[in-house]
């Protein structure tokens, strides 16, 4: 077992364990923190694939943005220390079975169709190539989706403020 394999096993088991804890814990605050650990470990996998820039973006956007947003809305809507009721047994059994069969289906499809294990084909994408891809308007360039998505983000921010704005009672 090489070092890269060991790191991969460690990090991916942490991703899965914290993911399961996220959806199964009864306290919402802990759930958010487990989600944070899971996302940080995904960033660690990006590091393992030599994509430092994406790892940094993952930490900044997810941990710095989305988790903080979720935590603030938790503080605004929940009583501290409140334990959520557990879902019913039949319901969790059904969901577990469905997602397990979904996983088995996905796994068998992947086993049948996955590419040959060719370790030589690995080549890390540098940040320069991503930059060219984002702001290039020739072939393989995505400058139009880039602009559209920036306008979408602006519209979403204005919309969020407009929705959550407290109107004065008459």
């Amino acid at each position: 077992m090489t070092i890269a394999n060991f790191i991969f096993y460690l990090v991916s088991s942490m991703i899965l364990v914290f993911g399961v804890l996220t959806i199964s814990t009864r306290q919402l605050f802990r759930s958010a923190i487990y989600l944070l650990f899971s996302l940080i470990n995904v960033a660690a996998l990006f590091f393992l694939m030599d994509n430092e820039f994406l790892a940094a973006v993952q930490v900044v956007v997810y941990v710095g943005g989305i988790i903080v947003l979720i935590l603030f809305s938790l503080f605004l809507t929940q009583q501290a220390g409140l334990k959520l009721p557990l879902p019913g047994l039949g319901r969790s059994m059904m969901a577990g079975l469905l997602s397990f069969f979904g996983f088995v289906l996905l796994f068998s499809l992947l086993l049948a169709a996955s590419p040959e294990a060719d370790e030589n084909s690995f080549s890390a994408i540098t940040m320069k190539e991503i930059g060219f891809g984002l702001l290039n308007f020739g072939k393989n360039g995505y400058v139009l989706p880039f602009e559209v998505v920036s306008i979408l983000l602006l519209a979403a921010m204005i919309g969020a403020i407009a929705i959550a704005f407290k109107t004065k009672k008459e």
Binding site: A4, L16, T22, S31, A95, L98, S114, N140, Y142
Partner: protein, 113 residues
């Protein structure tokens, strides 16, 4: 650390792409199970984040495997759309809480026929 990992890449002892496929399939199914079981709207958001992250991981792994930067460009777009979705969704959640006093999605059945 970066230098160390680059050496790993040069020595061709990186992790094969299949493992990333299996990992992201498992992570996606965990997100699906969370979205199916829980009734709290915030946990539903977290499950959606887990699923989006599984897809991101898959796209980054394939983009490295094929040596094509397009996959990682799309990962940026997915992240931006996820941020927009969470911002608008949590604003809607605040309004729901203000009107019904709860964030349980079981309360929202006025549109049910």
């Amino acid at each position: 650390m970066n230098y160390f990992l680059s050496n790993l890449t040069l020595l061709n002892i990186t992790v094969p792409v299949q493992w990333y496929l299996y990992l992201s399939a498992a992570l996606f199914c965990i997100g699906v199970a969370g979205a199916l079981t829980r009734r709290n709207a915030i946990i539903l958001f977290m499950s959606v984040e887990l699923m989006l992250n599984a897809v991101n991981l898959l796209m980054v792994a394939f983009s490295n495997h094929l040596g094509d930067a397009s996959g990682q460009v799309f990962v940026f777009f997915v992240m931006v759309v996820a941020a927009a979705e969470v911002a608008v969704g949590l604003a809607i959640l605040m309004m729901i809480y203000r009107n019904t006093g709860s964030v349980d999605v079981g309360f929202l059945k006025k549109l049910k026929w």
